[in-house]
Amino acid sequence: MDFQNKVEQGVTVVNINGQRLDASAAQLFKSHMVDLIQQGGTLFVLNLEAVDFMDSSGLASLMSSMKTLGGRGEMAVCCLGEKVRKLFAITRLDRGVFRIFDTEAEAVSALSTAPRAG
């Protein structure tokens, strides 16, 4: 698994290049996000288009990243496949905790126009 970052309209888009965001990959993802946050990133879109399988450790790595970011910024996810979307629904994380967008463009647009935290 690896990650590609790009900045669009002040929003860091992180593409997760790997089919599985699971217990064996979660730590790597978490470390990547901590690095980006420590480098000053505050607005993030996580593009999960390539992710076909996510488990609770993968979800926990997303939540941990959000907690690391705290109130200093915002994080959204986009391009969820059916299985991943179902996981968010089953665990009820689609009810206000994560902002979920169908497309990357929608997510970037929403975050770039959102009032900045702090």
Partner: protein, 142 residues
């Protein structure tokens, strides 16, 4: 009851092999695509728990999955010889709906997902294996 045994070393990077095998078997049984997805996830969660919590990350253990089919459904047993689950009641707890960052659950989601996939879940600690039993009935008419 016919069945199959699958065994991996207690390494997280091998768990996906169990998931793929479970998926393949479930696809040949009278289960829906949603049920198959949920069972693949449940077995991966159970194996992750064995590796992370029972073996505490040690790579020298084994995680064994037994899948057996009878006329009414599928029984999946996930076994390890590590430390038993601290509190088997965790298997029956519901997951709170988190509205804020502070409410986000730190753990327990894996067990919730296991229970979500199953019609019933049982757990037996030690002597010598810890065994998590996941039962899933075949739907009528399928």
């Amino acid at each position: 009851m016919d069945g199959i045994n699958l065994t991996i070393a207690s390494r997280l990077e091998l768990v996906h092999l169990l998931g793929l095998a479970v998926r393949g078997i479930c696809q040949g049984l009278p289960l829906t695509a949603d049920e198959t997805d949920a069972l693949e996830l449940a077995v991966c969660e159970a194996a992750n728990n064995s590796i992370k919590h029972a073996y505490k990350g040690r790579a020298d253990g084994k995680v064994r999955v037994t899948m057996a089919v009878d006329g009414t459904g599928l029984v999946i047993c996930v076994q390890d010889r590590g430390a038993p689950l601290d509190d088997a009641k965790q298997l029956t707890r519901d997951l709170a709906v988190a509205q804020t960052l502070e409410d986000l659950p730190e753990g327990g989601m894996g067990l919730f997902l296991i229970r979500n996939a199953a019609d019933s879940v049982g757990y037996k600690a030690g002597d010598p294996d810890n065994v998590l039993v996941i039962r899933k009935a075949f739907r009528k008419g399928s």
